[in-house]
Structure formats: C-alpha cells, structure tokens
C-alpha cells in the first residue's frame, strides 16, 4: 500500500520532469504546488481549527471554568468538553491535518530519493515504480539531479538552503500566530515555542538530507506565506520585535 503511494508520487514527479524538459528542481517545485493544492482543504481546516482554539482562549466562559475548576482536573476536562461541544470546536482540529501531512512529507522524501536513485538498489526500485505506459524510462533515467548550484540527491554543502529553510519556516510560523491578550493562553505559548523549534528542526533536516527535500520545504513555506497573505490572515506585526508591535 505504502509502495503504491510512493509509486504514484514518483510517476507524477517524473511526468512533470519529462514535460518541463528534464529539470528535477523545477519538477519538485511544481509538484509541491500540486500537493499544496490537493491538501488545501486540510490546510484550511488547520487554520480554522487554530483560529477557533485561539478565540476560545479569550472566551470569558472558558476563562471562568479554567479558574473555577483549577484544582479539579476531571471536572475541568468535562467542562472543557462541554464547551467544545456547544461551540462546535474539534480540539484536535488544528493538529490532525498536520498529522495527516506527515505521511505526505515522508512519501515525498522517499520519492525524491528513489527517483534520484543514488544507489543501485534505489535504481532497481525505481525501475519497478515507473509506469512504462506513459513514461519512456530508458530515456528518462538517470534523472538530471543538478539544480542551480545543487545536487538534489545530496545535502547542500554551503548551508545556504538550510538557512533559507529555517528563515522561511520562522516567517511562516510567526505570520500564522494570531494575537493573544490572555497571558495564560496555552496555545499561544505553544505557538511561540513551535515558531522557534520548527525552523531549527527543518533547518537541521535541510542540512542533513538531500537538498531536493529542502527545495520542497522552501517552496512549501513560501506558498504558505503567500496563502496566508492572500487571505489577509498574515499577522505581519509578529515579525517585529515585541516592543515595536503596537
């Protein structure tokens, strides 16, 4: 089943690669845009869920039950569930779409690795993943792994891409953080913490893994920023130092 999923990714990637004249970097960028379009409903749901949870933190009834049942965790949980039900909020509404996107990232990573076929075993596996009815395999293989200054099958050696990944991830995380007036707002605290850890983690992945994956990260981040900005949801003030936000 997983292999079928990977095969689907590889065939679409190679089809794009073939159509655009054998540039794997551009193929990854176009494929990322395609993935972003396909996962649009998930992203929209994630944004909606995050906004609802954020609004809830500032809700008077929510703050009241936090205070009232601070020492009775069981009762607090029951009351929280009641509020969720009444307001039609899914507490995992912002997390689940992210969870669903992880297999896509992993499948994309495996597809890039397999398509670039850095080892004989990868090339053999690639030969079995391609649908020869619509792709001329003998002409396509090996893929041109050169893109700009990079070999997409290898980590980028000058750390430029890792820095770009970290910076774009940071900007995207910051832009999507809604303002919070509640100092006890847990989800805002978590958002702040993720805005630091995610860029570091993705930057590290970009440093360690083939640069093709980093091209995906950068493209995905830029598309995310554009998407938020186009919807008027980007919170540009968050990019400023705290003292300058007012």
């Amino acid at each position: 089943m997983w292999d079928l999923f990977i095969s689907l990714f590889i065939n679409v990637l190679l089809w794009i690669y073939d159509v655009i004249g054998n540039n794997f970097g551009i193929a990854i960028i176009l494929f990322t845009i395609l993935i972003r379009v396909v996962t649009w409903p998930l992203n929209a749901q994630q944004m909606k869920g995050a906004k609802a949870m954020q609004d809830l933190q500032n809700d008077k009834e929510w703050q009241a039950i936090q205070k009232k049942y601070a020492k009775d965790r069981e009762k607090l949980a029951q009351e929280q569930m009641r509020v969720y039900r009444e307001k039609g909020i899914n507490p995992f509404g912002s997390c689940l779409p992210t969870l669903i996107q992880f297999p896509i990232i992993i499948a994309l990573y495996q597809s890039i690795i397999r398509a670039l076929a850095a080892t004989p075993l990868d090339l053999l596996k690639l030969s079995r993943s391609i649908n020869t009815d619509f792709l001329d395999v003998s002409q396509l293989i090996p893929l041109n792994s050169k893109f700009l200054w990079m070999n997409l099958g290898q980590p980028e050696p000058y750390y430029i891409l890792a820095i770009v990944v970290a910076v774009t991830t940071y900007i995207q995380s910051k832009l999507t953080l809604p303002p919070s007036t509640n100092p006890n707002d847990q989800s805002a605290a978590m958002g702040q913490s993720m805005a630091i850890t995610m860029p570091l983690m993705l930057g590290w992945l970009a440093l360690t893994f083939p640069s093709g994956l980093a091209v995906y990260f950068v493209t995905s981040n830029v598309l995310g920023i554009v998407q938020y900005a186009a919807q008027g949801k980007a919170n540009w003030r968050n990019l400023l130092p705290k003292g300058m936000r007012k």
């Binding site: 507490p91 995992f92 997390c95 992210t98 969870l99 992880f102 990232i105 992993i106 990573y109 495996q110 690795i113 850095a118 080892t119 004989p120 075993l121 990868d122 090339l123 053999l124 030969s127 395999v137 003998s138 002409q139 293989i141 090996p142 070999n151 290898q154 980590p155 847990q186 989800s187 978590m190 913490s193 993720m194 850890t197 995610m198 983690m201 992945l205 360690t208 893994f209």
Partner: protein
C-alpha cells in the same frame, strides 16, 4: 499540555521516520560488494568492509573500527598485487581508501590505512581498475580519477582527473591500450591509457550500470537499460545493437570463447554467440530478475537470481541443479576453489559459502 505533547510527538515521529529512510551506515542501502582471493573473502556491506576466512567463515577483521555515518561501503573491494584492499565509500565523505591487512593494529584488530584519496565529490559505487602502476577510479561525480599507485603518498592526489559524463557505476575494463568506461548517462568512453585523452565516446540510448566485456573476437560488448546488447569496435567506437532483450540488462556479460552469458531484469538468461550473432539457445528463465553477472565453471555457468536462488546451468541451457540461499541476491557471487560465495540481502547472514553442488558449508554474520 496534551496538545503540546501530541505536537512534539508528531515532530519526533516525523524526524525518526525521515531518519529511518535516510540511508546512512545501515545494511540494505544497496547490495554488498564481494571480492575473494584464494583464502579470504572481502565483503563491503554497509558500515564495514569485512575480511572473512574462507576455511571456516570466521571474521578476520573489519574496517573501520566503529560505524561512521559518513562511511558506507558497497563497491566491490579491489585487491592489489601487494595485498592492499582498495575500497571506496558511498557515504558523504566520498573517500577511496587502501587498507593494509598485513599491518593490523594489535589493540583494535583493524588494518591500517595505507593511503586515502578524498578529492572525489560523490559516491564510490564501482571498483577501480589497475593498469600497470596506475589506478583508474570511476566515481559517481562523472570523473575518472587516475592515481599513481607507486608514488608512496599516504594522502593521494589525482595524477589526472578525466571529466566524463553522468554517474560512473561500473568498473572499467582495458585492452591494454585503452580503458573503457560506462556511464549511467547512456554513454561509453574509450580513454587512452597513456595520454588520458578520450579516444571516442558513444551514446547508446540507455543508462549502462554494468561493465563492458571484450569478446574473443576482440570486440567490446555491453548491455544497457535500453534493453539491448551493443557491440563496439574498441578502436573506433563504431557500434551496433546485436540483440534486443526483454528487459534492462544490468549485469556485465561473461565471455566464454565466442559465447556471452548474461541476464536481464525479466529474469531471462541469454547465451549469445558472437560469431553467428544469434542466441545459442532460447533464453531460459529461472525464477527472478537477474542483476548479478554469471560465474563460469568448467562445464556449467552459475547464476544468481533476485529470488534468492543459485542455479547451475549447463552450457546447453539445461538446469543442472539449483539451491535456495534465501533473501534476495543482487551481488555477483564469487567462486574460489570448490566454494561458491554468495552475499544476499534480507537474510540473517551476510555471506554464505556453498560447495560445488550448492550445499551450504558455512555462513557469516558479524558479531553484534
């Protein structure tokens, strides 16, 4: 708090899953490289190169001492006339090293490096070729590095870097005047061994992961992922397709008089007559894709299939015997004396020795 934990768990899970498929110094990144001398088998398999005593299957030593994520080995080791073991790394350090089994560190039981070469920019998948005192080493960066084996340097500099095209995954061959190198970029190159000039270069329309072979007629033969066997004039590069195969030809053909034996990824095994230009018998199809080259024995040919079986096939195309080794066999086996050495993937052991009838003599797995 629960949400935070869930989110962090997701990130950790994603990182672990990505790391798990990153390759690195683990077995199974690709298939092992196997070479054997009269007494010792050398197995390049993941994080280590192992020397295994052929008499009992016991490990003599392994290199390096500890696994290093920058070093991954699967290029078949090359043994020089003075006993050095030359092997390239497919890890991120891209080093080619010569280790000296005669000079073992008594504390670690690890052989000392006689020299290293670190100028290459990509993986070492193929064995180099020795011509006189020069080493012709093909790298996946598309360069053929020429090293001087007699310069006495412990940190080698390339005598010459011959820039070819595409990834070079197969050991070159020579007719004494020229070195022939194949590339995944659909090309085959002939290089003058003295001047290092490219004498000719031909595109055959499909990647070439195997080496060419020089037939008894003096012509050069090579299979490709264009599912063809091509014949070249080694002097001029003039070429023609002499056989259409059912699928990709990965392995290097083996020459026996005017016959070439080789298999394809559909599992067909061919016996091609270079004199008549046709097949001696209709291709036989044992039981699985063939990436390993055949091994010539006195009256039969040994053949390994991906299905984990070893076949002894008579020169008339009839199967004499077959034995199940297990796992998946992609590596070309080695025959030494009465032993047949097989290095399968996806088995508990890394190497096994069979007798001439296919019965298992010993297996080797490194101590954990």
């Amino acid at each position: 708090m629960r949400k935070k934990l869930l989110f962090i768990s997701m990130i950790l899970l994603g990182t672990v899953l990505l790391s798990a498929c990153a390759g690195g110094a683990v077995r199974g990144t690709s298939w092992a490289g196997l070479t054997a001398t009269e007494d010792v088998a050398y197995l390049a398999d993941g994080a280590f190169v192992y020397a295994v005593n052929l008499s009992d299957g016991q490990e003599l030593w392994h290199y390096p001492e500890k696994a290093d994520s920058k070093k991954v080995f699967y290029a078949p080791p090359l043994i020089t006339s003075d006993g050095l073991v030359i092997v390239g790394s497919a890890g991120n350090n891209h080093s080619l090293v010569a280790i000296n089994p005669a000079d073992i560190n008594p504390e670690t039981n690890v052989p000392i490096e006689a020299w290293t070469f670190t100028e290459a920019k990509d993986h070492w998948v193929a064995s180099p070729l020795i011509v006189g005192e020069k080493l012709f080493a093909p790298n996946a960066d598309g360069n053929l590095y020429v090293l001087d084996l007699a310069d006495g340097q412990s940190s080698k500099q390339a005598l010459k870097v011959i820039e070819l095209e595409g990834r070079l995954w197969a050991q070159p061959v020579t007719d004494g005047k020229r070195v022939f190198v194949t590339s995944l970029d659909h090309s085959i190159f002939a290089i003058d061994v003295e001047t290092y000039n490219v004498v000719w270069h031909q595109d055959i329309g499909g990647a070439i992961p195997g080496s060419p072979v020089i037939g008894s007629d003096g012509m050069l033969y090579v299979g490709s992922l264009a599912a063809q066997l091509e014949r070249f004039d080694p002097a001029t590069g003039e070429h023609q397709s002499v056989l259409n195969t059912q699928n990709w030809v990965w392995s290097t053909p083996v020459a026996d008089g005017d016959t070439l034996y080789f298999g394809d990824l559909d599992g067909n095994f061919y016996s091609f007559n270079t004199t008549t230009g046709g097949l001696n018998w209709n291709a036989v199809k044992p039981d699985g894709p063939i990436t390993a080259s055949a091994i010539l024995q006195n009256d039969h040919i040994l053949l390994a299939t991906e299905s984990g079986n070893i076949y002894a096939i008579g020169k008339d195309g009839k199967t004499l015997w077959f034995e199940t080794v297990g796992g998946k066999i992609y590596t070309t086996p080695a025959a030494v004396g009465d032993l047949i050495l097989v290095a399968p993937l996806e088995t508990d052991f890394y190497l096994t020795a069979l007798d001439s009838n296919g019965r298992q003599v010993w297996t080797f797995a490194p101590q954990k």
